[in-house]
């Protein structure tokens, strides 16, 4: 094996910085001979440790803001809610009675509104994103986007599988099935991972964009509103379940609505103040 091939064990960024030196050292060490198995194992082990180290560091610096106890719970809950929807839609087919229609329409409206706010926040940064991509920025975010897309594909596959299972079995059969619960949990987890990866990809991209203070202020507010709206979606989901499954869900919906209300009063004014401070600071610099 040529010494250069040993470098494959190391992450690319590390190879760019230290690769040539390590090769020179290996060549000095083995002189004209071939690398021994012990040396190869040592280098491979060093490369794997370096990959593990970089992965830990990346996780700490990028994912940490999204994996605190405050954020991780809602993300996992959102993943599990997505995973249970196929069964819900199959077992509680589209509503026929007035209350069910109203609850389902409210749920759809809340989802649409949340999506619209998220898209509006993204659109505000669209010109900056286009400039970034035209300036050759794509390679800097490609890997994160690819991971997020891969996790989304896995989640979509899981959801499709759950929908097929729910469509071809009764609720009792699903409860007795040894494969349904693990499939449900795996799909929920894959969905939660996809949400975290997309959020980290968006955050990493946003850090690289040159955005005007006005745009950043808009995004602070849209981010805060979207966060509250996610809780509203969960509340409307509980209301829907309360009219299609058991009325006990009504309590969950009311609690979630109260939480959303408290969250909005805390989060949105803070985002507005942050945006104002940013714009004031930018105005002062001019």
């Amino acid at each position: 094996m040529r010494p250069a091939r040993l470098l494959r064990w190391y992450p690319r960024a590390w190879r760019d910085q230290f690769g040539e030196e390590l090769l020179a050292l290996i060549q000095d060490t083995v002189d004209e001979g071939r690398p021994t198995w012990r040396l190869r194992l040592g280098v491979a082990w060093g490369g794997l440790r370096e990959r593990a180290h970089q992965a830990r560091r990346a996780a700490r610096t990028v994912v940490k803001p999204l994996t605190g106890p405050e954020q991780l719970g809602p993300v996992i809950m959102a993943g599990l809610v997505f995973a249970i929807l196929p069964e819900n839609l199959m077992i509680s087919p589209l509503p026929a009675r007035g209350w069910q229609v109203a609850a389902f329409d409210t749920l759809l409206a809340a989802v649409a509104l949340t999506g619209a706010v998220v898209v509006a926040g993204g659109l505000a940064a669209l010109p900056a994103l286009v400039r970034f991509l035209r300036g050759g920025g794509w390679p800097k975010i490609r890997r994160r986007v690819a991971w997020a897309a891969g996790a989304s594909a896995a989640a979509a596959g899981g959801l499709a599988g759950l929908a097929l299972a729910a469509g071809s079995h009764t609720s009792a059969q699903l409860d007795d099935s040894w494969g349904y619960l693990p499939g449900f949990l795996a799909t929920g987890l894959a969905t939660a991972v996809a949400i975290v990866l997309w959020a980290t990809a968006a955050a990493a991209t946003a850090r690289r964009l040159t955005r005007a203070p006005r745009v950043r202020a808009v995004q602070f507010v849209s981010g805060a509103v979207a966060g509250t709206l996610v809780l509203v979606v969960l509340a409307t989901l509980d209301f829907w379940w309360s009219v299609t499954q058991t009325p006990a869900w009504l309590v969950g919906g009311l609690v979630m609505l109260a939480v959303a209300s408290l969250d909005a009063r805390r989060r949105i004014p803070r985002a507005i103040r942050r945006g104002r401070r940013l714009r004031a600071a930018a105005g002062g610099r001019r």
Binding site: W14, A24, V43
Partner: protein, 105 residues
């Protein structure tokens, strides 16, 4: 490890800092020097793993070089960290020797 099973002070980052304390060296020179003064053979993987961590912490820094064998030197924080680590080791050494009656400090 010594025949008694007790570990020697062979932590790669410490050995690298000691080696660089008397001047800059590149990877191969570091490995040779460490083998000479400590009797420890650091393989390329272990050596560059330790170099990477030391560079990240700002305890050593690379010097400009056109050659593939880039030399490293100890930084002022690296010297301070080394001095602190050696002082700790000296305290332990003195206490151990004094209690054995080998070096009444």
């Amino acid at each position: 490890m010594a025949p008694s099973g007790l570990r020697r002070p062979n932590d790669p980052p410490l050995l690298i800092l000691v080696s660089l304390a008397d001047g800059p060296k590149h990877g191969h020179a570091l490995a040779k020097d460490i083998e000479d003064f400590a009797g420890v053979r650091l393989g390329p993987g272990a050596l560059y793993g330790a170099i990477t961590r030391l560079v990240e912490r700002g305890l050593i820094e690379p010097l400009g070089s056109d050659d593939r064998r880039r030399p490293y030197r100890i930084t002022p924080p690296g010297s301070a960290a080394l001095a602190e680590a050696l002082a700790d080791m000296r305290r332990v050494t003195r206490a151990g020797l004094a209690r054995l009656g080998l070096d009444p400090a």
